[in-house]
Symmetry: C2
Subunit: 104 residues, 2 copies
């Protein structure tokens, strides 16, 4: 359920997220922004949809994509707190080291 790490693993998907966050885009808008085929883009969109970071809207023959902002925001916050821990741990280790300098 919403594996943002999977979603952002590919640079093409990260660029798609940036595009659709600026404004809704049709699939062909997106295809036109890259030098890979339409089915390849479709697969990236499928992964982003699967991870619920995108919403799609069908109008006639067009398919519009936009960011699923609440889901993205929540997943991104969670990512930050998970990865932030890594640096926090490092700081805690340094703090502990400094506090015990005289004992060693």
């Amino acid at each position: 359920m919403t594996d943002i790490y999977r979603a952002i693993a590919d640079p093409i998907r990260r660029k798609i997220l940036r595009m659709v966050s600026q404004q809704e885009c049709t699939q062909s808008d997106i295809v036109a922004s890259f030098s890979i085929s339409q089915p390849a883009i479709k697969k990236h969109l499928a992964i982003l949809l699967e991870e619920q970071l995108l919403l799609e809207r069908r109008v006639g023959k067009f398919c519009y994509y936009r960011l699923n902002t609440p889901v993205f925001q929540q997943a991104y916050l969670q990512l930050q707190s998970e990865l932030g821990l890594v640096l926090d741990n490092k700081l805690a280790g340094l703090k502990h080291y400094l506090e015990n300098l005289e004992e060693e």
Copy 2:
């Protein structure tokens, strides 16, 4: 170079990053923390080393791993600015929308 997105794509690698950020660990420490085989852990370590997020130190038969803090920190900052853009764009879109409410 240093594809942090690849490095963090797997939950096992994220947990390893957290472990070694608390304190240096031997490979067997790490193996003992998971329920997968030693060669499987070795492959995750290889990916983290390849992406330069880990440093290794050999002492006798032991191999110690620690976080490559500067590289991790820099890569994480870059990730944050790249993904932060997505939300910034969204806010900019909202701002633009609000500013032009009366015109539509």
